[in-house]
C-alpha cells in the first residue's frame, strides 16, 4: 500500500510539473504575441522639459516658451529647430549653413555643436560626432541627446551597469561615466529600434510562413516560385498594428512592397483585396496608378477608370505634384493606353488567321482609339516626345499595312508631316525632325516652306557632318527639283553657284564642273561637257564618263541625251579588264563621294558594283594601303564604298581579302573600318569582329579628320546595334 501511494504521489508530482511547464511556455508565447513593449513605441515619445531646464533649450521644442524669449534668442531657436529637422530628414538646405551666425557665446552654441555631430553620426562618422560633442555641457539637453546616441552605438550596451561616484574618475568613457538610469534606458531603446532593428527582425516572420496554395489562380497552370498568399497578408496586417509605433517607415515600405508583390500575383481578387486595404505610397495613396499598371495589358476599361481617378483626383490636390508633372504623368498614361491598343492592332494585323477577320471597320475603330490616346497625350503635355514618336510609329504601321492607294499614302505622309510640325512647335530643338520635315516638303514640291526650316537649321552646329551641310542639301534638292521642268531650269543657275560656295569641306569638288556643264546642257548648250576646261576635267576617262552620266541624270536631261551618256559608260563595262588600276581607283573615289554625301544618281546601281568588283580583283589596293596617306586616302575611300556595296560579301559570308584581315590585325584603321562596315551590311558578328570594334574605337580617338571621326564612330555604333540584335552574337 505504501509503495502504491508513493508511486501515485510521484505520478501526481510529475503531472503537476508538466502542467506548470506547459503553463510557463504558454505565458512566454503570450508575451511574444502581445503588443510591443510600451517603451519601444518611439512614435509616442515627445520632448518634455524637466524642472529647472534652461528656457533656451525648452524653446527649441516648445513654442510657448520660445515666445517668452528675446527676439534674437527666438530667431536662433527657430534656426536650430529647422536645422535639426533638416539633418534628420537628410535634406540639403541653407538652415545648416545659417547656424554659423550663432556665436560661441550664445546659449545655442551647444545646439549648433549637437547638430554638427548629429550629421556626422547619421553618416556613420563616430569620430567626427565625438569631436563635436565632447565639448557639450553635461547639464543640458544637447549633451543628453549626444550621450544617448553615443551609448546606443555600443555593442556592449546591455552589459553596462551604472557606475558609482568612485568609478567616475576611473572611467575612460565619459558618456558611460555620466549616464543616469534613464539615459541608459533611452540608449537601449534607441539601439533596439534603430540599430538592431527589432521591427525588421520581426518582419522576417513573413519568410517563415509556408504557402498553402490557397488562392484561386487566374491561370490553371500557374506555378510560382515564391507565392504570396492570404497568410502573408494576415501576418502583415497584424505586424503593421504592432510595429507602426516602433518603425513606421519600415511598416509603410513593407506595405507598399506587398502591394507590388500582390500586383505580380496571378490572382486579381487577392490584388484587389490588398490594394483596397493597404494605403499606397505618397505618389499613389489610393493605389490607382498601380491598378492602372496591373490592368493595362488585360482590361483597358478598368485602366481608363483608374487613370481618370488618379489624374483628376489624386494628383490634382497632391502637395508633391506640380501642374507640369501632373500633365507629364497623364500624358505617359495616355501613351501607355495607346501602346496597349497598338500592340493589339499589331497582333491582329500580323496573324495569318486573325487578319482575315480584321474588318476595315474594326481597323478604323482601333486606329481612331489609338489616335485619340496620342492626341490626348500631346494635349495634356505637348513636350512628351514619346507621344509624337508613338504617333509616328502608328502612321508607319498604317503605311506598311496591306496595300494602300497612292492617295492614301499621300494622306498618311501628310499626316506624318503634320505630327513633325506639331512636335517642332513645342520642341524646336529636335533637329532630326526638322530635317525630316525639310526632306518631306522638298519631295512634295513645297520648297518655300522647306526654306523656312532650313533657315532655322542654318545657325545650328552639328556633330554629324551630313547635318551640318543642311543648307547645301536644300540647294542640292532644290536644283534637282527645278531641273525637272525646262521652264524652271534657269532658276537653278544661281542656286548651283550657291551650292558651289556651300560645298562641304569633306567632299571632293571634282564633280562641280560636270554639274555646271550638265546644267548648261539642260538649258540647250550641246557642247557643255566638251567645254569643261582641261584643268577641271578628270584625268580618268571612266570617271569622266560616270560623272557626266550622273550629273545628267541628276539634272533630268532628256532620255535621248542620257542614252548617249550611258553608252559612254557601257563601253568600259564591255571590257573591264582593259581599264587601268588608276582609272578604277579614281572612279571608286567618285563613287565614295556620292555615297558619303548620300547623292547617288539612279544609274549608279547598274554599273558601279561591276567596276568595284573589278577593282577588288586588282592588287593596287593592297599595294597602296600602307602609303595611302600619301595619295589622298584613295584606297580608304575605295574600300569604304566597296564595303557599303557589299563587294566583300558573298552568300551572307564575309569574303574580305586576306591582306585586309591581316592589316586589321595590325591595327590599320582603314582595314578595321572596312571590315566592320562589311559586317554591318552582313548582319551578324563574331568574337573577332568585336575585337575589331574595340580596336577601331581606340584608333578613332586619334583621327584628326572630323568627318572620318564621325563616320567611323557611326560604323561602330551601327555594328554594336546590329550585334546586340543578333541572337547568336556573343556581344555583351
Amino acid at each position: 500500500m505504501g509503495q502504491k501511494s508513493s508511486n501515485r504521489a510521484e505520478k501526481n508530482r510529475r503531472r503537476l510539473e508538466k502542467r506548470r511547464r506547459e503553463m510557463d511556455r504558454s505565458k512566454k508565447r503570450q508575451i511574444q504575441d502581445s503588443v510591443v513593449r510600451p517603451e519601444l513605441r518611439v512614435v509616442d515619445r515627445s520632448p518634455v522639459a524637466w524642472y529647472g531646464e534652461m528656457l533656451e533649450d525648452v524653446a527649441v521644442f516648445d513654442d510657448s516658451i520660445r515666445q517668452t524669449l528675446s527676439d534674437e534668442m527666438q530667431s536662433q531657436a527657430v534656426l536650430i529647430r529647422q536645422a535639426l529637422e533638416e539633418v534628420c530628414d537628410r535634406i540639403e538646405s541653407d538652415a545648416q549653413e545659417n547656424l554659423a551666425s550663432i556665436s560661441r557665446r550664445s546659449p545655442y552654441a551647444d545646439w549648433r555643436l549637437l547638430i554638427r555631430g548629429l550629421a556626422a553620426w547619421f553618416n556613420g562618422d563616430q569620430a567626427e560626432a565625438q569631436s563635436a560633442w565632447e565639448r557639450l555641457d553635461p547639464s543640458r539637453r544637447p549633451w543628453r541627446i549626444a550621450a544617448a546616441l553615443m551609448l546606443a552605438k555600443r555593442e556592449d550596451l546591455t552589459e553596462i551597469k551604472l557606475q558609482g561616484l568612485d568609478d567616475v574618475k576611473r572611467s575612460e568613457d565619459a558618456w558611460v561615466a555620466s549616464a543616469d538610469s534613464e539615459l541608459l534606458a533611452t540608449a537601449k531603446v534607441t539601439r533596439q529600434v534603430y540599430i538592431e532593428r527589432i521591427a525588421l527582425r520581426a518582419a522576417h516572420g513573413l519568410l517563415r510562413i509556408t504557402p498553402t496554395d490557397s488562392m484561386d489562380h487566374y491561370d490553371e497552370d500557374y506555378i510560382d516560385d515564391e507565392p504570396i498568399e492570404p497568410e502573408h497578408f494576415k501576418f502583415l496586417l497584424e505586424y503593421s498594428v504592432k510595429y507602426t509605433p516602433v518603425e513606421p517607415e519600415l511598416v509603410r515600405a513593407l506595405q507598399c512592397g506587398f502591394i507590388k508583390l500582390a500586383s505580380n500575383s496571378d490572382s486579381p481578387d487577392f490584388f484587389e483585396l490588398v490594394a483596397s486595404t493597404l494605403p499606397g505610397p505618397v505618389c499613389d495613396p489610393r493605389n490607382k496608378l498601380i491598378r492602372f499598371l496591373a490592368y493595362f495589358q488585360i482590361d483597358l476599361k478598368a485602366c481608363a477608370s483608374s487613370q481618370r481617378e488618379y489624374v483628376d483626383e489624386d494628383l490634382l490636390n497632391a502637395k508633391w505634384c506640380s501642374d507640369e508633372l501632373r500633365g507629364a504623368l497623364s500624358s505617359m498614361l495616355h501613351c501607355m493606353l495607346a501602346a496597349g491598343e497598338m500592340s493589339a492592332f499589331n497582333e491582329k494585323a500580323e496573324s495569318f488567321f486573325e487578319r482575315r477577320f480584321f474588318s476595315e471597320r474594326d481597323r478604323a475603330v482601333m486606329v481612331a482609339n489609338i489616335k485619340r490616346h496620342f492626341e490626348n497625350a500631346i494635349k495634356v503635355y505637348p513636350k512628351n516626345r514619346d507621344a509624337y514618336e508613338g504617333y509616328e510609329a502608328l502612321i508607319g504601321l498604317l503605311l506598311n499595312f496591306g496595300s494602300n492607294s497612292k492617295k492614301k499614302v499621300g494622306e498618311l505622309e501628310k499626316e506624318l508631316a503634320g505630327i513633325w510640325r506639331r512636335r517642332l512647335e513645342c520642341l524646336p530643338d529636335d533637329v532630326e525632325y526638322r530635317i525630316k520635315l525639310v526632306e518631306h516638303l522638298l519631295n512634295h514640291g513645297d520648297s518655300d516652306q522647306a526654306k523656312k526650316h532650313v533657315d532655322i537649321l542654318k545657325g545650328t552646329r552639328f556633330e554629324n557632318p551630313l547635318l551640318d551641310c543642311i543648307n547645301w542639301r536644300w540647294h542640292w534638292l532644290e536644283i534637282g527639283r527645278l531641273s525637272e521642268k525646262r521652264t524652271m531650269v534657269a532658276l537653278a543657275v544661281p542656286l548651283l553657284d550657291e551650292l558651289e560656295k556651300l560645298w562641304p569641306k569633306w567632299l571632293h569638288r571634282r564633280w562641280i564642273p560636270y554639274l555646271k556643264a550638265a546644267l548648261k546642257l539642260r538649258m540647250g548648250d550641246e557642247t557643255a561637257f566638251e567645254n569643261i576646261p582641261e584643268e577641271n576635267k578628270s584625268k580618268s576617262a571612266l570617271t569622266a564618263a560616270c560623272m557626266q552620266l550622273g550629273a545628267a541624270q541628276y539634272l533630268s536631261l532628256p532620255a535621248v541625251q542620257l542614252k548617249e551618256l550611258r553608252e559612254g559608260v557601257d563601253v568600259f563595262l564591255k571590257d573591264k579588264k582593259a581599264i587601268s588600276d588608276e582609272d578604277l581607283l579614281s572612279v571608286a573615289n567618285f563613287f565614295w563621294d556620292l555615297t558619303s554625301a548620300e547623292i547617288r544618281y539612279s544609274a549608279y546601281r547598274l554599273h558601279a558594283p561591276k567596276f568595284l568588283k573589278e577593282l577588288n580583283s586588282r592588287s593596287i589596293l593592297e599595294k597602296r594601303l600602307k602609303s595611302d596617306h600619301e595619295h589622298g586616302y584613295e584606297v580608304r575611300n575605295a574600300l569604304l564604298v566597296m564595303a557599303t556595296d557589299k563587294i566583300f560579301t558573298a552568300s551572307s559570308l564575309l569574303r574580305a581579302p586576306r591582306w585586309m584581315q591581316q592589316a586589321a590585325v595590325a591595327g590599320n584603321t582603314t582595314a578595321l573600318a572596312t571590315l566592320l562596315l562589311a559586317k554591318v551590311q552582313q548582319g551578324w558578328s563574331s568574337h573577332e569582329d568585336m575585337e575589331r570594334a574595340k580596336l577601331l574605337k581606340k584608333e578613332v580617338a586619334n583621327l584628326s579628320d572630323p568627318f572620318y571621326r564621325f563616320y567611323y564612330t557611326r560604323i561602330i555604333k551601327q555594328f554594336e546595334e546590329a550585334a546586340l540584335s543578333d541572337p547568336f552574337s556573343n556581344f555583351m
Binding site: 515619445r45 515627445s46 520632448p47 518634455v48 522639459a49 524637466w50 524642472y51 529647472g52 531646464e53 528656457l55 533649450d57 527649441v60 521644442f61 516648445d62 516658451i65 535639426l84 529637422e85 534628420c88 530628414d89 537628410r90 540639403e92 539637453r141 549633451w143 543628453r144 541627446i145 544617448a148 543616469d180 534613464e182 533611452t186 529600434v193 519568410l207 515564391e226 504570396i228 502573408h232 518603425e247 513606421p248 517607415e249 519600415l250 515600405a253 513593407l254 507590388k260 508583390l261 505580380n264 505610397p281 505618397v282 505618389c283 499613389d284 496608378l289 498601380i290 499598371l293 502637395k319 508633391w320 507640369e324 508633372l325 500633365g327 507629364a328 504623368l329 500624358s331 513636350k383 512628351n384
Partner: protein
C-alpha cells in the same frame, strides 16, 4: 515627408526645393548650390546636384520616376523586399531626437519664468 515611399522626390531634397517650386526658383537654387560645391571642391556633390537638377527640370523624367516607384519588378520577392529594407536605415525624427534628452527623473514640469528667475538669482 518622413515616408521613404517618396524616394522619387529625392532629387528635390538634394536641391532643397519644394516639389511645386517654379522652374526659375529651381534653377536659382541649383546655381547657388553649384557655387557652394564646385567640382574641384566636392566632385561627388557636384555630380549629385547636376543629376538631381536634370531630373527635377524635366517633368517627363520625373513622371517616369513616379511610374518606376509604383511599378513592381518581375524579380521582386518577399526576400528581396526585406533585403532592400535592410539597406535602408530608419530615420529618426527631430521629435524623437529631442526626446532623447528627457530627464523625467528630475521633476517633469514646464519651468515657469519665476522659478527660472529665482534659480538665476540664486546663481548670481
Amino acid at each position: 515627408m518622413n515616408d521613404n515611399t517618396d524616394e522619387f522626390l529625392k532629387p528635390f531634397r538634394v536641391l532643397g526645393v519644394d516639389p511645386k517650386a517654379s522652374f526659375a526658383e529651381i534653377r536659382a537654387r541649383y546655381l547657388l548650390l553649384l557655387k557652394r560645391y564646385p567640382p574641384e571642391r566636392d566632385a561627388e556633390r557636384f555630380e549629385e546636384l547636376q543629376s538631381a537638377y536634370e531630373i527635377v527640370s524635366d517633368p517627363m523624367r520625373l513622371a517616369k520616376r513616379v511610374i518606376r516607384t509604383v511599378a513592381a519588378s518581375e524579380e521582386m520577392t518577399i526576400e528581396s523586399l526585406l533585403k532592400e529594407q535592410q539597406d535602408n536605415p530608419p530615420k529618426m525624427s527631430a521629435k524623437y531626437i529631442l526626446s532623447l534628452g528627457n530627464a523625467t527623473g528630475r521633476v517633469a514640469q514646464q519651468p515657469s519664468n519665476q522659478q527660472t528667475n529665482e534659480l538665476q538669482q540664486g546663481e548670481q
